[in-house]
C-alpha cells in the first residue's frame, strides 16, 4: 500500500504540478487536489503504465453516475491505491 501510494502521489505531483507534500492518503483527487477529468486521464495513463493495469474509469464513472458508488470510493487516494493493488493482484493471479 505504501509503495503504491508513493508511486501514485509522485505521478500526481508531476502530472498536475501539485507539491508532493500536500498529497496524503486521505486526499480526494477531485475535491482536495482539484484534479479535473482531463488531468485525470494523464494520471490514469501514468498509473496504467507504472502498474501494468487498466484502471476501469468508465465503470467507476458509471457506478458514480448511477448512485451505486461514491467518488470517495475511487478518488480518495488510499482507496484508489487499494483498487490499484487489487487490479495488480488480479493480474498476477
Amino acid at each position: 500500500m505504501s509503495s503504491t501510494f508513493d508511486t501514485v502521489a509522485s505521478i500526481i505531483a508531476e502530472t498536475c504540478d501539485i507539491p508532493r507534500d500536500t498529497i496524503t492518503p486521505d486526499s480526494h483527487a477531485i475535491d482536495d487536489l482539484g484534479i479535473d477529468s482531463l488531468d485525470f486521464l494523464d494520471i490514469a495513463f501514468a498509473i496504467d503504465k507504472a502498474f501494468g493495469i487498466k484502471l476501469p474509469l468508465e465503470q467507476w464513472t458509471q457506478e458514480v453516475n448511477d448512485g451505486k458508488a461514491t467518488t470517495e470510493q475511487y478518488f480518495v487516494l488510499k482507496n484508489l491505491c487499494a483498487r490499484i493493488d487489487e487490479l495488480v493482484a488480479a493480474k498476477v493471479a
Binding site: L38, L41, D42, A44, F45, D48, K49, K54, L55, P56, L57, E58, Q59, T61
Partner: protein, 157 residues
C-alpha cells in the same frame, strides 16, 4: 484534402493487422480559402491544421479499434513540433501509433512526413465516447467510404 472544411485526409493507405498503426495521406490543395488569411501572398498550411490532420489520422485508427462503436474526441496535444513549412501542392504521409489504450481514452504518437522527412509530430490523447445522438455516426461512415477506409473489415455487420 479540403482544409477549409476540415477534411484533412484523402486516403487511408493501411492499418496494420494488430491495429497499432495507421498510414494515411493528404494532399495540400493548391488553392483554399484558408490561404487567404494564412498568409496573404505567402500560403502555408496552418500548424493547427497539421495537428488536426494527425488527429484525424489517429481518429481513423481508433474507430477501427472500436469497430465504429465509439467515437474518439481530441482531448490533449503534447509535445507538438512543427518542423518546417508545408506548402500548397505537397503530399503528406501521416502516421499514428497507439501508445496506450485505457478505459475510455487512447494515447497515440503521431507524425507527418514529406518525401520521407518528418515535418511535424505530437502525442495526442483522445476521449473515446459513445456516439452523440443524431447524424454524426452515419456522416462519419460516409466520410470513411470517401477516404477508402476498409469499412467491411472494421465494422460489425
Amino acid at each position: 484534402m479540403r482544409p477549409e472544411v476540415f477534411k484533412m485526409i484523402d486516403r487511408v493507405v493501411s492499418i496494420d493487422p494488430s491495429l497499432q498503426k495507421i498510414h494515411c495521406q493528404g494532399l495540400v490543395p493548391e488553392e483554399s480559402s484558408i490561404f487567404e488569411g494564412h498568409f496573404p501572398g505567402y500560403p502555408i498550411m496552418p500548424g493547427v491544421l497539421l495537428i488536426e490532420a494527425m488527429a484525424q489520422t489517429t481518429g481513423w485508427l481508433v474507430l477501427a479499434r472500436n469497430r465504429f462503436n465509439k467515437m474518439p474526441f481530441l482531448a490533449t496535444v503534447k509535445e507538438a513540433k512543427l518542423r518546417t513549412f508545408v506548402l500548397p501542392g505537397q503530399n503528406l504521409d501521416l502516421y499514428s501509433e497507439i501508445l496506450h489504450e485505457g478505459s475510455g481514452f487512447v494515447v497515440a504518437k503521431t507524425q507527418a512526413m514529406l518525401e520521407g522527412k518528418p515535418i511535424c509530430s505530437a502525442e495526442l490523447t483522445f476521449r473515446v465516447l459513445p456516439w452523440p445522438e443524431g447524424k454524426m455516426k452515419p456522416v462519419v461512415m460516409k466520410v470513411a467510404e470517401h477516404v477508402s477506409f476498409p469499412l467491411a473489415d472494421f465494422t460489425d455487420a
